[in-house]
Amino acid sequence: MHFTINGQSHEVEPDIRTSLLDLLREHVGLTGSKKGCDHGQCGACTVLINGRRVNSCLTLAVMHQDDDITTIEGLGTPDNLSPMQAAFVKHDGYQCGYCTPGQICSAMGMLDEVKKGWGSHVSKDLTNPELTDEEISERMSGNICRCSAYPNIVDAIREVAGADA
């Protein structure tokens, strides 16, 4: 089977039961996407599929042969961090680092959702939401951080969103 991950082609023959997360971690060697719960409850496995954030543990690999999959490794490298990755370092938006790739991928997908005008539970204007701290926290609540770096994560996302605006 053929998968496009971070712009690169991969030929892999996974088990039909293999989740997209396990494909990345166990078959392709991309361990940046993390397994925290394997049930879509913690968000550590978040990747971008065709630009949208998805819990990769909740979807089977075989469903994504025609998709454009982006993982944390595709956003930037240690020597060439993306603005969001660099902002997480600057604002200490992590401690143990295990939920971090999921937080960053989720933040990228989330900002795009806001840009597209998708409303949330806390949006004052459902068709034209403003990116307040409350809005960031609400939309990022699918990504648990047990070290509880939440305020720093919000600081990092706000900074990147502001620079982008």
Binding site: T18, E73, G142, N152
Partner: protein, 734 residues
């Protein structure tokens, strides 16, 4: 070797002389780029050739005898390599600080590990584990702590807290002008680190290498060696990155079974515990049933403090949650009564979860203090200041440093405490009732034996090596800062290698002793190097100034690389706890402030803001210290409002054994948080003058929230967590 036992204050040369200016600065984590790019490697992620996958087989009941295993169907599944259920070394309980009982013939807690299925893929191993049938004779279990309290035992001999009864508390309560006699309860709680327990084991020539996620490697090495039946010297453990610990990452069944399976199969095996399995196979924080008896005279001076607790433990026992640890030296009162009873249940053992003792004990104590202050007609901050002891009220020892009053005063000013309405339920914004609360924070200060090696290379770079771990606490960065300051090197000239038992044994991460212990050993190792550098400069260490890679003494300024010469300079440092631990009462202190809004109709609680003011000795890195502090404060929110591992009294299992149903705070639960450090270098505590921080910040945090809820709506809930159903019942009429 610079070897120091803390029997007296250390001159603190390295830190006192340092002029590099990196110590204490809020610098970015040196491993940060690896973490944000997904290239830091955690327990399950090391790329090992020919690795097989294991999945744990677990018990379908909490109590009973195992009469047999049916493995035939499992073995027939494609990809299955082996099913191991017949090895006498299969651990019955998670090994914590010592080897726990082994053997899978009996079940003593729900979901107990029975063995492991090994296959060529994760999917096949999981299917095989589920296909194994465990035949049992189930028996009734004990799951209710208070139902069995008549059979409770006292504190274990080696427990940090023994029972204390000083004076007659009954009499003091009877004679008090104001008193509180209330029971507070907290439920079972779990660590819920984001990275599950995971291990890869490989054997080569009788030597076991384990890549895992562990907090204290030198202990894990001994426990694993004993569990598997080899010598410690035959075990090497690597844990360079640990995805959260919080006390829970001592040796787990994943490690023991990976080692057993890899040995049997003759190929590497990796096992990650499923999130659901973690709830029943990693030790939990016990439920607590705390009776608080507080008495005060007509002036609001406390005359008695009693904190008597009932906790639970699994059948193998050992650890006791020292619930009164925070209460014991916090307030002056002549009559003092602290006891603990331990009830044995058929549950996974209870063990250390972030701030054992204070995390739950201070939730109750500081709620009760708020109640007593109100009864005395005093502001809660004034009340605490009035009852501030001058020396340790238990031992009479002087405090090494204690800035509780300073923290309360600074915080009150900053938080706008003067604006708090003292009458509950008197501030309303629309349908929201607004309130403020305060609580004291305290956490005992510890230090453990720790060793490190620092090598200064001919190229002028320093390399720190120790088997210390970084569980998110910032070890990599603060150790680099200590060496940078001591040797006069910018941070990009310092390399830090951690998490490998081939390196000098460190204290490891736990009990908030990591920075004090490992940090001191690194400072001492640097002193060892400076002594040699000083000789080569014809100077004494005290005359040396080290900055930007140069040594300066007399009128000479020489590059370190030149002084080192052709052969690297190696310094060794070793710190050990000494009599200072008894001479001085050592603890870190703080003040927690919270503002909440309680919905007058639904009882829903919304955090509005929090402030934590902490005194924890020298702050090594302002950025990572603040992060640890906000983390603890947010755990406090969780303990006050949501965390609750709900025990099914019929089956002995946690009903909500996953991250969807066991609620920890998420982004939207967390308000704006401020942290302020009052920095008093504690020279009595250790050579670098630091105190533990990671656990201090959870202490009292939940009580500040509950006290704020009381101030907002007049409802006092003593059965934690304070979910909205409990608040709703007591809300004032609309």
């Amino acid at each position: 070797m610079a070897d120091y036992k803390m029997d007296a204050d250390h001159p603190g040369t390295a830190m006192a002389r340092g002029v590099q200016g990196v110590l204490g600065k809020g610098l970015d984590r040196i491993e940060g780029a690896l973490k944000v790019s997904g290239t830091a490697t955690y327990g399950y992620e090391h790329q090992i050739d020919n690795v097989a996958y294991g999945f744990l087989i677990t018990a379908p009941a909490a109590k009973g005898k195992v009469t047999g295993f049916d493995t035939e169907a499992a073995r027939a599944l494609p990809g299955v390599l082996d099913i191991i259920v017949d090895d006498p070394r299969i651990p019955r309980q998670a090994a914590a600080f010592g080897p726990a009982h082994a053997g899978n013939d009996e079940i003593d807690h729900y979901d107990q590990v029975m063995g492991v299925a090994i296959a060529t893929s994760f999917e096949a191993a999981r299917a095989a584990a589920k296909a194994v049938i465990v035949h049992i004779d189930a028996a009734d279990g004990r799951f209710d702590t208070m139902a069995d309290v008549a059979h409770a035992s006292g504190p274990p001999k080696d427990s940090r807290l023994q029972d204390v009864a000083k004076g007659d508390i009954e009499q003091a309560m009877a004679e008090a002008a104001a008193s509180i006699d209330q029971v507070y309860t907290t439920p079972n709680q779990v660590h819920a680190a984001m990275e599950p327990h995971a291990s890869i084991a490989a054997w080569e020539d009788g030597t076991l290498t384990l890549w895992s996620s562990l907090q204290i490697l030198k202990v894990a090495r001994q426990v694993l060696a004993k569990a598997v039946g080899v010598e410690s010297a035959q075990v090497r453990i690597l844990s360079p990155y640990v995805g959260g610990g919080f006390g829970g990452k001592m040796l787990g069944p994943d490690a023991v079974l990976a080692a057993i399976a890899a040995q049997k199969l003759g190929r590497p095996v990796k096992i990650a515990m499923a999130r659901q399995q973690l709830f029943h196979n990693v030790y939990r924080r016990t439920d607590t049933h705390q009776r608080l008896r507080l008495a005060a005279d007509k002036d609001g001076r406390m005359t008695a403090i009693g904190h008597d607790s009932v906790v639970s433990q699994g059948p193998d026992g050992g650890f006791m949650e020292p619930v009164a640890l925070g209460s014991i030296s916090l307030y002056a009162a002549p009559v003092r009564h602290f006891t603990h009873k331990v009830v044995t249940l058929d549950m996974v053992m209870a063990g250390a979860v972030r701030a054992p003792g204070e995390a739950v004990g201070m939730l109750a104590l500081e709620s009760a203090i708020d109640e007593l202050a109100e009864q005395c007609g005093r502001d809660p901050i004034d009340f605490r200041k009035l009852n501030e002891p001058e020396v340790d009220p238990m031992t009479g020892a002087p405090f090494s440093t204690r800035a509780l009053v300073e923290c309360l005063d600074w915080g009150a000013q900053q938080f706008g405490w003067a604006r708090r309405a003292s009458t509950p339920a008197s501030v309303r914004e629309g349908e929201w009732l607004i309130g403020m609360g305060v609580a004291a924070a305290v956490r005992i200060n510890l230090m453990m034996d720790s060793e490190a090696r620092v090598t200064l290379s001919p190229d002028g770079r320093a390399r720190i090596e120790t088997d210390m771990t970084d569980i998110g606490t910032g070890s990599y960065t603060i150790l680099a800062q200590i060496a940078g300051e001591a040797l006069g090197l910018p941070l990009d000239c310092v390399d830090v290698v951690l998490g490998d038992t081939d390196l000098p044994p460190a204290a490891g991460s736990g009990g908030s002793f990591g920075a004090a212990s490992a940090g001191s050993s690194v400072a001492l190792a640097c002193e060892d190097i400076v002594a040699t550098l000083a000789e080569r400069m014809d100077a004494t260490p005290e005359q040396m100034t080290l900055k930007d890679g140069h040594a300066i003494a007399g009128n000479r300024r020489v590059p370190l690389a030149e002084l080192v010469g052709a052969a690297p300079l190696v310094g060794n440092g070793k710190i050990a706890q000494g009599s200072n631990a008894k001479t001085y009462s050592q603890a870190a202190h703080g003040a927690q402030f919270a503002e909440v809004a309680v919905n007058a109709i639904t009882g829903e609680v919304r955090m509005r803001r929090m402030l934590g003011v902490f005194e924890a000795g020298r702050i090594l890195n302002a950025k990572t210290a603040r992060s640890q502090a906000i983390g603890g404060m947010i755990w406090g929110i969780g303990y006050a409002l949501m965390e609750d591992a709900v025990l099914d009294q019929r089956t002995g299992q946690f009903v909500n054994h996953d991250l969807a149903e066991y609620h920890v705070p998420a982004h939207a639960d967390v308000p704006h948080l401020d942290v302020h450090f009052i920095e008093h270098v504690d020279e009595h505590a250790n050579p670098i003058g630091v105190k533990g921080l990671g656990e201090l910040s959870i202490s009292g945090a939940g009580a500040a929230v509950t006290n704020a809820i009381y101030n907002a709506c007049g409802v006092r809930v003593r059965d934690f967590p304070m979910t909205l159903d409990k608040i709703l019942a007591g809300l004032p009429p609309l």
